[in-house]
């Protein structure tokens, strides 16, 4: 993490946000239930900061990111950004706020139209929002390519002519086109080789300190999140179970799930690995269509007590300032 200025000002505030997907069955497609992909999450992100969002596959990280950007309509809750509740905006007011919030995707291949040149891919958001035209537009494309460390001469090539890391740079350039304040980075390095990941993460950090960007950094790579994030939120089955400053979270995780997750990460050091005792969780993550009663982690929690199976723990603030949802944490 490069030095970057984090202000006290809250840029984005998410309160009690939920996104439920209906589950249909049969030919007449009647609704038989809901998947509670995101189920009442709350956090603030300060201007200039990076909030890491971690958790296992299917816990709702992408859904949370997409709902915040209004790529999905929220089922419940508020998303306060620039003094407005984004969850309730529509029409022209939604259109006006969109350029300020952008997304970088996991698979750079999937989100770059193979029949468009790099230049038109990056210029597309400029066209949509009609900000610049002609010569000025080409200049802006060159400037963006330059900003992500690519030669502006590449502007007329096609995505398939680039490597994964370069394609991710193109995706980043496109996300930057409209001068956003806030970017959801959804697993931006997961599809890249280890030797290329560092290039992309360094670029994201440079851009952050240069342009004052604020990131929601979604990842399942806990080591990389420790590197890039200022604070970290841990999700399990649609809920945020712990939210803490980076150092607090990694040095002293309070939620049993955070502890298990950190203990499961292999460390590239044989001496450390042979001495480590792991918390091995039993079984699999339950279905978000039918989450357990009480605490959602109770079916796998090594520390669960009776109460955990019946009473859902509150989202509490502890003495050291972090938030956690566990009956036992103190």
């Amino acid at each position: 993490m490069l030095d970057h200025a984090i202000s006290d000002e809250t840029l984005l505030s998410v309160q009690n946000l939920s996104k439920h997907f209906p589950v249909y069955k049969g030919i007449i497609r009647h609704q038989v239930g809901v998947i509670k992909a995101v189920d009442g999450i709350s956090f603030d992100i300060r201007k200039g900061e990076t909030l890491g969002l971690v958790g296992e596959s299917g816990c709702g990280k992408s859904t949370a990111g997409r709902t915040i950007l209004r790529l999905y309509d929220a089922t419940e809750g508020t998303i306060t950004f620039g003094g407005q509740n984004v969850a309730e905006l529509s029409g022209e007011s939604l259109r006006r706020i969109r350029p300020r919030m952008q997304m970088i995707f996991q698979d750079p291949q999937a989100c770059l139209n193979p029949r468009m040149t790099v230049s038109s891919i990056i210029a597309e958001p400029l066209d949509e929002h009609a900000t610049v035209k002609g010569r000025a537009k080409q200049d802006r494309v060159s400037e963006l390519l330059d900003a992500v460390g690519m030669n502006p001469r590449f502007a007329n090539r096609y995505p398939h002519e680039f490597s994964g890391g370069q394609r991710q740079r193109i995706g980043i350039a496109r996300a930057l086109a409209l001068d956003p304040d806030f970017i959801v980075c959804d697993e931006p390095i997961a599809a890249l080789d280890v030797s290329i990941q560092a290039q992309v993460v360094n670029l994201l950090e440079e851009l952050q300190s240069r342009l004052g960007l604020t990131y929601l950094f979604i990842s399942h790579d806990l080591s990389m999140v420790r590197h890039i994030a200022d604070r970290v939120a841990v999700m399990y089955l649609g809920k945020v179970v712990e939210l803490a400053d980076r150092e607090q979270l990694y040095a002293d995780p309070k939620h049993p799930y955070t502890r298990a997750l950190l203990s499961a990460v292999p460390i590239p050091n044989p001496e450390v690995e042979t001495k480590r005792t792991r918390i091995i969780l039993k079984g699999d993550v339950p279905s978000p269509a039918n989450p357990p009663k009480g605490c959602r982690f109770c079916t796998r929690c090594p520390e669960a007590i009776e109460k955990c199976h019946s009473v859902e723990p509150d989202w509490r603030k502890l003495g050291d300032g972090r938030h956690v949802a566990c009956h036992l944490a103190e």
Partner: protein, 344 residues
């Protein structure tokens, strides 16, 4: 869990020499594997790491002759399984080896398990074919195997189909199938890459405990240097279709010699150590493999590159006891260690 030194005295079960595999494609020849040699002893686990496209899978698929030829062509080398060259076996003998003496597990269990057959059928079929077991013997063994890999109430799961299992459980079933005939060699190609870390931790624990029980040789392909650190006895690092470094796991992480390995270990952010402000990165891109290497394949990205690297591909040589490296450069600490025997 560190393998006892006694394994060193045993003859290898698998010995691969100078393996070379190319692909004939419409855009020309791809030199995927360019002379790979390694060995595997009973009871040991060799980790294979390297970036995407470095030839890890093609190496292992080649020696089991699992690649369709064409487009693939094995153009050189040998792969001795207890003295018999797998590359020159009759197809019928080879079928007996695959799934019998050599078991394998791939990254995505959904593509390797057949969706239309029950788990029970897929487990008992190789037992009946390779070991000639009766239906009831095979069933009993299948139940044992499922409980060995930690599937609860295995009797009840035999009639289930793959889609009724979670990702982690399917991978356990794949491991059970691979272990079914008590293979001498197990080849696991990114078996945990598609799984969540908590499920991966379950599988790695399982493999650690099984190794002690079963005593087979295991090749474990992964791009995760953390996984290798926890389970391997020895590690091979591949780059550009070549083994560029090979050593015991503790030696490799403590004294990496190849500039690629060194850079790779340095780029990794740490979960427990000090945090740096900026990650070290490796500039440039991996090679295209459209030409057989005539220079060091890492040269375009290497910070220690010099004239010789561009003129001659460095051979894999033993640079320290049990530590092989393919590089014209030597780390300064190693040079000073051998010249003046002082600690730096």
């Amino acid at each position: 869990m560190d393998a006892p030194a006694i394994t060193d005295s045993k003859a290898p079960v698998l010995e691969v020499q100078g393996l070379r595999t190319v692909f004939h494609t419409s855009e020309g020849m791809i030199h995927a594997v360019n002379g790979v040699s390694f060995y595997l002893r009973a009871g040991e686990l060799v980790g294979v790491v390297g970036e995407s496209g470095s030839g890890k899978s093609v190496t292992m698929m080649s020696l089991m002759k699992l690649l369709p030829e064409p487009p693939a062509e094995i153009v050189g080398g040998s792969a001795l399984l207890e003295g018999r060259d797998l590359l020159r076996l009759e197809p019928s003998a080879l079928r007996h080896v695959r799934g019998g003496e050599i078991g394998f597990v791939f990254q995505d269990p959904m593509t390797s398990l057949n969706p239309v057959f029950t788990i029970g059928y897929q487990l008992t079929e190789p037992l009946r074919e390779h070991l000639g077991m009766s239906r009831s013997e095979a069933r009993a063994r299948a139940i044992d195997l499922l409980s060995l890999v930690g599937i609860p109430t295995p009797e009840e799961r035999l009639n289930d189909f793959p889609h009724q299992f979670s990702g982690g459980m399917r991978q356990r079933v794949m491991i059970a199938i691979a272990l079914a005939c008590d293979p001498k060699v197990l080849i696991a190609d990114e078996p945990t890459t598609a799984l969540d870390v908590t499920i991966q931790a379950q599988i790695l624990e399982l493999v650690k405990s099984l190794r002690q029980e079963l005593g087979m040789g295991i090749v474990w392909i992964t791009h995760d240097l953390g996984v290798v650190a926890g389970i391997a006895d020895r590690v091979m690092v591949m780059y550009g279709g070549l083994v560029v470094e090979h050593a015991r796991v503790s030696e490799l992480y403590a004294r990496p010699m190849h500039p690629y390995t060194r850079a790779l270990l340095e780029t990794l952010p740490s979960l427990d150590g000090t945090r740096s402000d900026r990650l070290r990165s490796i500039a440039g891109q991996p090679p295209h493999m459209t030409q057989a290497p005539s220079a060091c394949p890492f040269a375009p990205r290497c910070t220690h590159v010099h004239d010789r690297c561009l003129a001659e591909n460095p051979p894999l040589v033993e640079a320290a006891p049990g530590h092989d490296v393919a590089c014209w450069w030597r780390p300064p600490e190693q040079v000073s260690e051998s010249e003046v025997n002082a600690d730096a």
